[in-house]
């Protein structure tokens, strides 16, 4: 067991911490929200300068050559700052799909551009009727025009509105929820027949409904073997769950420390509310939940690269349940301990609350992952 970071990892963490502390205060964030894409292109450039957009990519692709731990370090800081940029969508989800599913040529064409900050990706997999079921894909891919033709619709595609390229899943053969027969396709945002309607999620990040009507895809834009993409999809989602776990930890840390600070300064009945034992115990419970959640986010991080798919899936599900429950508890108590002020849009804590809520409902909620675990109880 080893919880220490290497020197390089520490340097990476410090540089992100400094960048976010300098540039990503709550007021700055409000200004970023007003930009056309709903996030800061300037910050995106700075992430690129610092090498953050290439953290998990190989050095030959302009990357940092990092793994899940490096991604965790970045995501934790983004979580603390409640960053709005499409890091998860582009680097973690889209990047992992290309990294694990793409040919050498595809990787060479895409990953360096992502690392430079000139190409943004989105992972267009979830569908309206699929809920959390990863194999439930009704979008179809049929042979035609010397390549593939895609038809269907994708729902709640994170940052799908500002992405330059979408990684789209579509069914080549098989029944609606057959894991077999699904392909992943690289589709330009401007492709004929692709339409996007962007909107804001509860946490103010952006997403889109994407519809595909006879969208032509060349054979060279199929990621991996057409029809056998499900294992890649699973790994993209697992990587996403691990990254969001780190983000949730960053958000929980902030909620915990804001609440602690508030309990010291807010006075009622002539004394700080934090002098009441009830409040002290509640803050202690928040701390315990945060630490348990942190442990589970770490579990997800180290599991992402586990070679055994069953073991990996099991640990990822455990982690999602664990940090999801922690995030729900910590965020609910953060509002409760703030009283009325915690309920307002003007105050930061409610924004962290809603990021936690969105994370919980992404890639399977607590009930979904518990059911997966329950099915395996011996």
């Amino acid at each position: 067991m080893d919880f220490d970071l290497s020197d390089d990892q520490r340097l990476l963490a410090d540089s992100v911490t400094r960048l976010m502390a300098d540039r990503y205060g709550f007021e700055a964030r409000k200004a970023f929200l007003k930009q056309p894409d709903g996030w800061s292109t300037e910050m995106w450039g700075r992430y690129a300068e610092l090498g953050l957009l290439g953290v998990p990519f190989a050095e030959e692709h302009g990357g940092f050559g990092g793994g899940a731990v490096e991604v965790m370090l970045v995501m934790q800081e983004l979580g603390r700052a409640l960053a709005l940029e499409p890091y998860l969508a582009t680097v973690v989800l889209g990047g992992t799909a290309v990294r694990l599913g793409g040919s050498a040529a595809q990787q060479a064409a895409i990953l360096p551009a992502v690392a430079e900050g000139t190409l943004k990706l989105a992972f267009a997999h979830g569908e309206r009727d699929a809920r959390y079921d990863l194999s439930d894909v009704q979008t179809t891919a049929k042979r035609g025009n010397g390549g593939w033709v895609l038809d269907g619709a994708k729902s709640v595609v994170f940052h799908g509105d500002s992405a330059d390229k979408l990684v789209v899943s579509a069914r080549i053969k098989g029944a609606r929820d057959d894991p077999d027969g699904i392909g992943l396709f690289l589709v330009d945002a401007g492709a004929q027949g692709l339409a996007r309607r962007g909107y804001t999620l509860r946490d103010e990040t952006r997403a889109a409904e994407v519809s595909l009507t006879h969208v032509a895809v060349a054979d060279g834009d199929v990621l991996g073997e057409a029809g056998a993409a499900f294992p890649v999809i699973e790994r993209v989602v697992e990587t996403g769950i691990a990254a969001m776990g780190a983000e949730a930890v960053g958000a929980m840390e902030t909620m915990q420390s804001m609440t602690l600070e508030y309990s010291r300064t807010r006075e009622q009945f002539g004394k700080p509310i934090g002098s009441n034992q009830v409040v002290q115990h509640r803050l202690s419970e928040m701390l315990m939940a945060l630490e348990q959640g942190r442990s589970m986010a770490m579990l997800a991080t180290v599991s992402v690269e586990d070679a055994d798919p069953a073991e990996r899936a099991r640990n990822i599900s455990m982690a999602k349940v664990g940090y999801g429950q922690s995030a729900r508890f910590v965020s609910q108590q953060a509002i409760q301990m703030h009283g009325g002020i915690g309920m307002t849009e003007e105050y930061a804590v409610g924004h962290y609350f809603r990021r936690a809520m969105v994370i919980e409902h992404t890639f399977g909620d607590t009930a979904f992952h518990l059911a997966r675990l329950a099915a395996q109880v011996e």
Partner: protein
């Protein structure tokens, strides 16, 4: 002992149900069924329909338009009305101001305000909390200085729900800053929201909606005859108001309505290849909430029945049980409804729905409202005395710790 409703009570419940079914305008019902908060005009329209029937001034004496119901009947009505779902009677008018006027008001004040409050001709709001005075309400600072036949009010109130809709506000002010006890320097005033010097600033809450406000008073003149009860005795009025009508505080009908919304969503979405409603874990969660609702219903019944037999008029400390358990339950039901919506609970669909207006999307609409309800009702354990404060009351008043 019999925990069931009597045949008369059952008949009464059926009568209430039938009346709501036959008289609640369909568009209001439909919006509420999707989880929307009622709009101002919906609240007014429904309260006027009820008032015409004589069912608005719930706990008021008959001479002031009350229906003459027992506490149990009021409980049944409130629950049926919430579960319908129909807009609730405006509590500021019906459960707060009305009983206060009846207990402490002059004949002139009663005649002027009660009929209009019952019919929602005047929309009232509650100006108690201040930035520095939340749980510790008695530390309020908004000052009223006596000048001849009026008071001059300066200060600010916060969290004033619906002040932006309101015609009038009942306000706690400090009339004697030098009183020996803080509680002894407070008065209770009725303030016309149109009076010069009042500014209402919206506060948007985490559900993105406008329920709350800050209200600023800048040399606001309030005639002395707008004071309720004696000068510096306003704390007695506030205590009466806060402890007065606890029926309905458990908000069981609203919990029932949220569980129904969750079930409806669960019929429409799939989980493990089957409708979510068939998933054993989901069903267990519903079953657990039904157990909790049943327990609370019986506890509420007991508190209400005991209250009807008590003669001292003092609030039952057990009503804190109803508040804490009721809001915990309500919050759990909003979590269930949101979780049932799944990933659809994440987007703010309004813009999308507007663009796609020719294709109504009830599932998305209900999902958005499920998330909105989850977010806004985090406040249920904060307003009306936080749950921590309710437990302090139980510790002191019941357990004598």
């Amino acid at each position: 002992m019999d925990l069931r409703f009597t045949p008369e009570e059952l008949a009464f419940r059926d009568e209430v149900r039938a009346f709501i079914r036959d008289n609640l305008p369909a568009d209001i019902r439909e919006r509420m069924r999707l989880g929307y908060s009622p709009r101002k005009q919906d609240v007014i329209a429904w309260q006027r329909i009820l008032n015409r029937k004589g069912w608005a001034a719930l706990s008021w004496p008959k001479e002031w338009g009350g229906p003459g119901w027992s506490a149990v009947q009021r409980m049944i009505f409130i629950e049926e009305n919430q579960a319908a779902p129909a807009p609730e009677l405006l509590s500021f008018n019906i459960t707060m101001l009305g009983p206060v006027l009846i207990q402490f008001g002059t004949e002139e004040q009663k005649r002027r305000f009660l009929p209009r409050a019952a019919n929602l001709d005047d929309w009232w709001c509650q100006g108690f909390s201040e930035p520095g005075a939340g749980s510790d309400l008695a530390s309020l600072k908004t000052a009223a200085r006596r000048e001849g036949d009026h008071y001059v009010v300066n200060g600010s109130k916060i969290w004033t729900s619906t002040a932006h809709n309101a015609d009038w506000c009942f306000v706690l002010v400090r009339t004697n800053p030098n009183a020996a006890k803080r509680q002894e320097g407070i008065s209770f005033l009725l303030v016309d929201m149109k009076t010069p010097g009042i500014t209402v600033r919206p506060i948007i809450s985490i559900d993105g909606a406008h329920h709350l406000n800050e209200v600023f008073f800048d040399d606001v003149k309030v005639p002395v005859e707008m004071r309720i009860h004696e000068e510096n005795r306003g704390w007695d009025v506030a205590k009466f108001l806060l402890g007065n009508e606890r029926t309905g505080i458990a908000r069981l009908g609203k919990s029932r309505e949220r569980v129904a919304a969750a079930k409806e969503a669960a019929r429409a979405v799939r989980f493990n290849g089957k409708p979510l409603i068939e998933d054993p874990t989901f069903r267990q969660r519903v079953a657990q909430l039904e157990v909790d609702m049943k327990a609370l219903q019986i506890t509420q019944y007991r508190v209400v029945s005991a209250g009807a037999k008590k003669s001292d008029g003092r609030p039952d400390p057990l009503s804190s049980v109803l508040k804490v358990k009721g809001t915990e339950l309500l919050q759990s039901t909003t979590e269930l409804a949101m979780d049932a919506a799944g990933p659809l609970a994440m987007p703010i669909w309004a813009q999308e729905l507007a663009e796609m207006a020719n294709e109504p999307d009830m599932l998305a609409e209900a999902a958005e409202q499920a998330a909105g309800n989850y977010l806004f009702l985090r406040a249920a354990s904060i307003y009306g005395g936080t749950n921590e404060i309710q437990k302090n009351i139980l510790s002191k008043a019941v357990l004598r710790l």
